[in-house]
């Protein structure tokens, strides 16, 4: 009997553990001039013979046969793709040592760099990374540390406010409709389901509660984090649901459960209905910016460099951006055709003023990236823990 119970308990435990999955993603940006201790990893000085294959961890839509087949033809490197759903998953996969390249978002990149998982990039070996890379994606904190580049930009996008114009008849100018208790849309608001969403609350507080002294939503001391969590708890009472899964977000809008909330341009387009509109409110917003990074102990560094260079060309970078639905990093793409120009226009590709209002996902770390030295900032683990209390 006893052993039966033990087996039962073991079975249940395994079932409970097996049923847990994953989700969340994030990224970041901030001011330069920050110095962080990073492991000393040598940079590749010159290219050699191509290896036979290259293993890539990427977001869905970043590596497709439409352009990877041509790469294989040109270089002889077979491309093996692994799609990851979240930044956390990407970090874990890169640590297995089985992959050469990752399409890291800003919340993953600092962790990868500090963890010694990726190597510095010799931009001389990436000729396609030229003057055409848009201004706002050069030398950002999430891929350039201590003056050394660790990533080659792929594209960027903002977390916009999407709304159903049948219900929300007047275009919102502020995020207040998503945060304040007296919102006319209380109970029909969708929020992003990840610790990095705390930064969205911080962006709102920057504009509405200047006394808190937040100057960068990814550099929050304990008091500022508490204020953001309070705001999130307030929002929790008027939220219809949280989304991490894009398909769930789309059905929530399309099914009428949600009238307004956080979204990406690509998701709004996928609803395939003109009544869904989007706006970047006056407070600004958070956003994400992705970059290719090469594993510190890559077994195919030459193929890896070749891939990073190949995908930085105007055509291929544009193809990825079009496929995924984001602003491309290589501005030269915008001049390649009318269609490309329209894409760049729609995603504000070269509109630095638009993106100046966007705070790209950045891993929160103890060192305050807004330059404060008199306080300790909260790190991502504290954010993760604090996030749990929002929904409890």
């Amino acid at each position: 009997m006893r052993s039966k119970i033990m087996t039962g308990a073991a079975f249940i435990a395994v079932a409970a553990l097996a049923l847990t999955g994953c989700s969340a993603e994030a990224d970041s940006t901030a001011t330069g001039g920050l110095s962080i201790d990073v492991p000393d990893i040598p940079m590749l000085e010159e290219l050699g013979e191509m290896e036979s294959e290259v293993n890539i961890v990427a977001w869905s839509g970043f590596v497709e046969p439409a352009w990877s087949d041509e790469f294989t033809e040109e270089t002889g490197c077979t491309v093996n793709r692994r799609v990851a759903g979240t930044s956390d998953e990407m970090v874990q996969l890169m640590r297995t040592g089985d992959y050469d390249i990752v399409s890291a978002s800003g919340d993953a990149s600092l962790r990868l760099i500090a963890g010694g998982d990726v190597q510095p990039i010799n931009l001389d070996l990436v000729p396609n990374f030229g003057d055409d890379i848009v201004e706002g994606m050069k030398g950002q904190i999430y891929d350039t540390i201590n003056g050394q580049s660790y990533g080659v930009p792929i594209g960027r996008g903002a977390n916009i406010l999407q709304y159903n114009s049948d219900v929300v008849t007047e275009e919102p100018t502020s995020w207040d409709v998503a945060w304040e208790l007296d919102s006319p849309y209380a109970g029909e608001i969708i929020a992003y389901d990840a610790p990095i969403y705390i930064a969205d609350a911080a962006v709102y507080l920057m504009a509405h509660e200047p006394d808190l002294g937040i100057t960068n939503p990814y550099a929050l001391d304990q008091e500022q984090l508490d204020a953001a969590i309070d705001l999130l708890k307030q929002q929790n009472t008027i939220v219809s649901e949280y989304w991490a899964d894009p398909a769930a977000q789309i059905t929530s809008f399309a099914g009428g459960t949600t009238s307004l909330g956080t979204s990406w341009e690509i998701l709004r387009k996928l609803t395939d209905d003109d009544k869904f509109k989007s706006v970047l409110p006056e407070e600004g917003s958070t956003g994400w910016s992705d970059a290719w990074m090469i594993a510190a102990e890559s077994e195919s560094p030459n193929c890896a460099y070749a891939w990073v260079d190949y995908t930085s060309s105007a055509e291929v970078n544009g193809a990825i951006a079009t496929n995924f639905g984001m602003a491309p990093a290589n501005a030269a793409f915008c001049d390649t055709s009318d269609e490309a120009a329209a894409h760049c226009e729609y995603f504000n590709a070269t509109d630095e003023e638009y993106f100046s209002n966007v705070w790209f996902w950045t891993t929160p770390i103890e060192q305050c990236i807004d330059g404060r030295t008199d306080v300790t900032c909260t790190n991502f683990q504290q954010w993760t823990d604090a996030w749990l209390s929002v929904k409890s």
């Binding site: 009997m1 039966k4 119970i5 087996t7 039962g8 308990a9 073991a10 249940i12 435990a13 395994v14 079932a15 409970a16 553990l17 097996a18 049923l19 847990t20 999955g21 994953c22 989700s23 969340a24 979240t86 956390d88 998953e89 970090v91 874990q92 640590r95 962790r111 500090a114 963890g115 010694g116 389901d193 990840a194 610790p195 929790n236 939220v239 219809s240 649901e241 949280y242 991490a244 899964d245 769930a248 059905t251 929530s252 099914g255 009428g256 459960t257 770390i365 103890e366 790190n379 991502f380 683990q381 504290q382 993760t384 823990d385 996030w387 749990l388 209390s389 929904k391 409890s392």
Partner: protein, 275 residues
């Protein structure tokens, strides 16, 4: 070959499976509950600390979520029993053989579909403009939307076969003369069910409840897709599993503890002996 060697040979494969893969991997996972995670690089380092457990106790989010999950699992179990017992009695004792076969297929039908398909079907059913509201809207009834109620309904839908099948089988095995005797002695239907049927099918109900209860405790996808802002134990484990595996492992001990307490308490009733 002597008997002993024969027995060993027979048990070698199952024991290898049970100890080598089943138990060992579980123990390894639980050991990480005592390890530490570097807060910056989120790399896991072996060591020994009770900090993860302290954190689970100190952060009230863990306690409220645990209690909420426990409540959901109990509600799913009770609801499953309330549906399964009358259904089982009807199928076994009242329905014609043909209707019985149709009902048996209907109950097990959900098992044929994939888990995610079922969750998404429930999601579509309960959206604001979904099936539920459009059917009952004219009667002035509006659905629960995405909420804790919908989570309970969804989980009941998912796990009902695990309760209904053993209960039905147990009722079928009850000899008809027990019902006759009860009726001869003047008992009504309700009295017969309460004093004759329920005590006899208790082991089946408990067997079913172990499934509905423990599967509900471990689930998090239902909360994610139909729960609105509902958070369950699984949701917290899922959000920590990549970033901070030690705390996820520590927290996974909570549902294990719930299930062990449950098993020990039902064992006291002697029901497990007859399973």
């Amino acid at each position: 070959m002597n008997r002993r060697a024969q027995l060993s040979a027979l048990l070698a494969l199952p024991m290898l499976w049970l100890i080598g893969i089943y138990i060992f991997s579980l123990v390894m996972l639980l050991v990480t509950a005592f390890w530490v995670t570097d807060p910056f690089t989120s790399k896991v380092k072996p060591g020994f600390t009770l900090r993860n457990f302290e954190q689970i106790i100190a952060n009230p989010a863990y306690a409220t979520t645990s209690l909420r999950t426990l409540g959901i699992a109990l509600a799913v179990t009770v609801l499953s029993i309330l549906i399964s017992v009358p259904l089982g009695i009807f199928m076994a004792k009242v329905a014609s053989p043909k209707l019985r076969a149709i009902l048996a297929v209907a109950i097990t039908l959900p098992l044929w579909a994939g888990y995610l398909v079922k969750i998404l079907a429930m999601r579509i059913t309960f959206t604001e403009e979904g099936f539920f509201n459009s059917m009952l809207g004219p009667l002035g009834i509006s659905g629960p939307g995405f909420s804790i109620v919908t989570v309970v309904l969804t989980l009941t839908y998912l796990w009902l076969p695990y309760m209904a099948v053993p209960v039905y089988t147990a009722i079928r095995q009850l000899p008809p003369n027990l019902f006759d005797a009860s009726s001869d002695l003047g008992a009504g239907a309700g009295f017969t069910i309460r004093t004759v049927v329920l005590p006899l099918i208790k082991p089946a109900i408990i067997a079913g409840s172990i499934f509905t209860f423990s599967l509900s405790l471990g689930d998090y996808i239902a909360a994610k897709f139909v729960g609105g802002s509902t958070q369950m134990i699984g949701s917290i484990i899922a959000s920590n599993i990549n970033l901070n595996p030690p705390i996820a492992a520590a927290f996974s001990l909570v549902p294990i503890a719930f299930v062990v307490i449950y098993l020990v308490s039902v064992q006291r009733t002697g029901a497990l002996e007859r399973m």
